[in-house]
């Protein structure tokens, strides 16, 4: 299973892209926490943005144990700074 994680702001600038791909075994349904760990492992260029980062799944903040299934919209919410 591959998951494309939408990224924004400084993370997107560092990656030069608006999404990052992480891979899991076929049939696996990883948790949000596992996706964050995979981002850190597979994309060290955005590691600076992962401290305190959360995932949004289908446009809502997801708890670390939330399971992600095919078709979910997954976004990295890190280093926000409105105002």
């Amino acid at each position: 299973m591959t998951i494309d994680v939408l990224i924004f702001g400084p993370a997107a600038s560092a990656a030069g892209s608006d999404r990052l791909r992480v891979r899991f075994a076929d049939g696996e349904s990883p948790s949000a926490g596992e996706v964050l760990a995979a981002l850190a492992r597979e994309h060290p260029d955005v590691g600076f943005a992962l401290g305190g980062a959360r995932l949004a799944v289908n446009q809502a903040f997801a708890a670390a144990e939330t399971r992600i299934v095919a078709g979910d919209e997954v976004a990295l919410i890190a280093l926000v700074g409105g105002g």
Partner: protein, 130 residues
């Protein structure tokens, strides 16, 4: 109690605020806060900030946050308007208006709202360097 939250294209202008600041007999304190793009970002000069939003979550979270803060502080009204896209130095990127019976809860609500905005609403700002 009125709760309003919206994200607008570019800077927040007076036209964006039209009709937002309702008054009522129970209101004894109203606070309007505006965030302005400043010229210096640390030691470097910028010409603008590009505000990026994750839509539609950003506007929904802005509205949920406004509702939570209004309930927590017993506000009579709250309105939050945030810009999206390029906002030049000196322009307004964010306006928050709160109305309450007394000033203490109005001022506390402003402080808490802005702290949580910077944590819980998916909006990013990217400097446009001079």
């Amino acid at each position: 109690m009125t709760v309003l939250a919206r994200i607008v294209g570019g800077a927040v202008t007076p036209a964006c605020e039209a009709g937002v600041f309702a008054r009522g007999e129970g209101i004894g304190a109203a606070v309007r806060f505006e965030g302005i793009v400043r010229r210096m970002e640390g030691e470097r000069e910028i010409v603008a900030l590009d505000y990026q939003t994750y839509d539609p979550m950003a506007e929904r979270r802005l509205k949920e946050l406004a509702g939570e803060i209004a309930a927590r502080h017993g506000l009579r009204g709250i309105a939050a308007i945030h810009g999206r896209g390029r906002v030049a130095v000196g322009e307004v990127s964010f306006v928050l208006w709160v109305a309450a019976a007394h000033r203490a809860e109005a001022l506390a609500a402003v402080e808490e709202f802005i702290d949580r905005l910077k944590r819980d609403v998916p909006i990013w700002k990217i400097p446009v360097w001079k």
